[in-house]
């Protein structure tokens, strides 16, 4: 019994998001008389989660460096715009390549400026966000026609494809993050860059590789957003960075990076957020109340899970 209590005390913080997810699922199932456990509803939540999981699996790499990425809305907007614009010049298949290349370039710019100039990643990522939204918004604003996904890809938005992409991404990125040099060294840099450098880790190289992974995953996520929306506008991606950050934090991802990051926190955070939003909608909660609850949960999650040891200078 003593052993169990000791184990629970040591690991409660790690498993709190999973317990919260179970609590939310059970709570809403009871309150909605099982409506939230309806097969179709579960399928919808799984479908909605795919895009966020794919994006989050990339962002966890930059978060493990201790770098927050506030550029996601701009990256989605700019890469989606460039991708669909490319279809007009180079044909429909150019969409995929252009979206992924644009997302990678955005992430590498953030990583590059952060490393070379030593500017805080939050500031750089905000700048990239404004740049992306600004460029896309300006050009879309001056177009006389909308930008739609080429009709040849109409069949691509399917549950099966989205599930497959999400599952493959989870498997591949879990291995890369937890069992390869890239993941381990990224976390080591996040824990203590000076010690990592002293230990012979090429900090610049692994930081850039982390941003490269984030870029690839953001490119795939943007492609999924574009396929799901069928068209884009200047508001595409609006709020994506905030939602993603909220999901990561309530899933238990550490804002300070380091070895405490876990891939499962992405999946748990996304599902927790979506189950909460879905459950409150099913129960007919006022939309403003949903926003209020999301805000309180965000604050509570940060307070409960924030790793103070990683940032002794804050408190």
């Amino acid at each position: 019994m003593k052993k169990f209590v000791g184990f629970a005390k040591r690991n409660l913080k790690d498993y709190l998001p999973i317990l919260a997810l179970i609590f939310v699922i059970v709570l809403f199932a009871i309150l909605s008389n099982g409506q939230t456990l309806n097969t179709n509803n579960i399928k919808q939540i799984m479908l909605q989660s795919c895009t966020y999981i794919v994006a989050g699996l990339g962002i966890i790499f930059t978060m493990s460096l201790g770098n927050m990425d506030m550029s996601l809305d701009g990256i989605v907007c700019l890469s989606a715009f460039l991708g669909l614009q490319a279809t007009e010049q180079f044909g429909p298949w150019a969409m995929f390549g252009m979206i992924i290349v644009a997302a990678i370039m955005c992430e590498l710019v953030i990583g590059g400026i952060n490393i070379l100039l030593g500017i805080n990643s939050v500031i750089v990522s905000f700048a990239v966000s404004f740049f992306g939204k600004g460029v896309a918004g300006y050009i879309i604003g001056n177009r006389s026609t909308g930008l739609s996904v080429p009709s040849v890809f109409n069949g691509l938005y399917s549950k099966t494809l989205f599930y497959a992409i999400a599952i493959v991404s989870i498997i591949v990125l879990s291995v890369v993050f937890h069992y390869t040099k890239l993941g381990k060294r990224t976390m080591a840099i996040g824990s203590n860059p000076t010690a990592a450098k002293a230990a012979g880790i090429n900090v610049t190289k692994f930081k850039l590789l982390a941003y490269l992974v984030a870029g690839i995953m953001m490119g795939i996520a943007t492609t999924m957003i574009v396929l799901r929306s069928g068209a884009i506008g200047a508001t595409t991606g609006a709020g994506f960075h905030i939602t993603m950050l909220l999901m990561m934090v309530i899933g238990g991802a550490s804002l300070t990076g380091g070895t405490k990051e876990k891939i499962y926190s992405v999946v748990v955070g996304v599902l927790l957020f979506l189950c909460l939003e879905n459950g409150l909608t099913v129960l007919g909660a006022d939309p403003n109340v949903i926003g209020l609850i999301e805000g309180i949960i965000f604050l509570a999650s940060v307070t409960l899970t924030f790793d103070r040891d990683g940032v002794p200078y804050i408190l």
Binding site: I140, Y157, I225, A238, A285, P287
Partner: protein, 368 residues
């Protein structure tokens, strides 16, 4: 250390209490309607229910929903197509048997409809028509598309230019939004074409569709600073508090303003002296849209094909108009419960005729 533990505990308790409190509400009370719990449910997706037009639209919808015994569930604050698709999916999960939506991305209307088709429920647009040809063709051919209701934006835009000319304005400043929003595009095209036709000088600033009131004021100030000869401003969308903020910003300046949408205090807006015309009253649009959707949900559609309906604007040009408007529209008084039921029973032609009658004078007359 003890204090930190206390704060953490309090936050955890607040979090759980908030969730439980929110979960305690039922569908009828959450929408503010008094509709029957047994009635059909409509999911409403709108930009906001807090700004002038959004709040008026919600008041009107809640009143008519109560008259019809319909439950409403609202989703707000989604400003891209992906989020609106998620809203539709969640509302379907919540038991919505029809979707009433003000779409953000015009070309995504067909994708929204596909989500509804998969769930075998109808969809109706409010405040918007469909400009994108592919989306239009898809929607108009669908059995699940009830139709759209929109306003004659171009005529309204022309009327706003004429009002500024009547006020003696010679150089115009256009505070516009980026393209992609079908309604706002038509407003902007309407007044720009008319200004070109009249050979009137104008300068334009373009803001995003999600610009805050502060950003709109900044854009207006920059436009005026760059072009000090501007003496008349047209605001193509005053939503999310933009109109209120710009009225305040222009106080004391010799510049006239015309705008779409409604400020929180209309009378004070006109008393300030800058505002000379408001194009508003569009809160009736979702009422007609909901009735059309209600007909479709009850297998009694007003037409065999999706309906394309025009709803009137109300024009206000004076403090008296504002007082009259506030008296008429502080609550939803346009139709009584019996009249709402008559609207449901009307055929398409009679319904269209009734929609054409909507005006400030009509509502004032009814209130007597």
């Amino acid at each position: 250390m003890k204090m930190k533990k206390i704060i953490r505990t309090i936050l955890a308790v607040v979090m759980v209490m908030c969730m439980l409190a929110a979960c305690g509400g039922n569908k009828a009370s959450s929408s503010g309607s008094t509709a029957s719990a047994d009635g059909p449910t409509i999911g409403v997706i709108i930009w906001s229910t807090d700004d002038g037009l959004g709040a008026d639209a919600k008041t009107a919808l809640d009143t008519v929903a109560a008259d019809l015994g319909v439950n409403l569930i609202y989703r707000t604050g989604s400003f891209d197509a992906d989020s609106q698709t998620t809203d539709i999916e969640n509302l379907i999960s919540a038991g919505a048997e029809g979707i009433l939506i003000c779409p953000i991305v015009d070309a995504s209307n067909d994708e929204y409809l596909k989500t509804c088709e998969d769930a075998d429920i109808p969809m109706q647009l409010m405040f918007r028509n469909i400009v994108d040809q592919d989306a239009y063709d898809y929607c108009m051919a669908s059995d699940q598309f009830a139709g759209y209701v929109s306003e004659d934006e171009q005529s309204a835009a022309v009327a706003m230019v004429d009002k500024l000319l009547e006020e003696g304005c010679t150089t115009f400043g256009l505070v516009d939004r980026e393209s992609g929003n079908a309604v706002i595009d038509r407003r902007q095209t309407g007044y720009k074409e008319y200004l070109d036709e009249k050979n009137i000088t104008y300068y334009e600033t373009i803001t995003t569709n999600t610009a805050t009131a502060t950003e709109m004021v900044d854009a207006t100030d920059q436009l005026l600073a760059a072009n000090p000869d501007i003496d008349g401003i047209i605001l193509s969308s005053g939503s999310n508090g933009a109109i209120d903020a710009i009225i305040t910003d222009l106080e004391g300046k010799d510049i006239k303003l015309t705008s779409f949408d409604t400020p929180a205090d209309i009378k004070a807006g006109f008393e300030g002296g800058n505002l000379c015309m408001l194009t508003t009253g569009a809160q009736i649009d979702p009422v007609y849209a909901m009735i059309n959707l209600y007909n479709k949900m009850n297998d009694a559609p007003k037409a065999d094909t999706p309906t394309e309906l025009d709803s009137n604007y109300i024009y206000m040009t004076s403090v008296e108009d504002a007082q009259n408007y506030e008296k008429c529209f502080s609550e939803f008084n346009t139709y009584t419960a019996d009249e709402v039921k008559e609207l449901v029973d009307m055929d398409l032609d009679a319904f269209k005729t009734e929609m054409k009658n909507y005006s400030l004078e009509m509502v004032s007359e009814k209130m007597k």
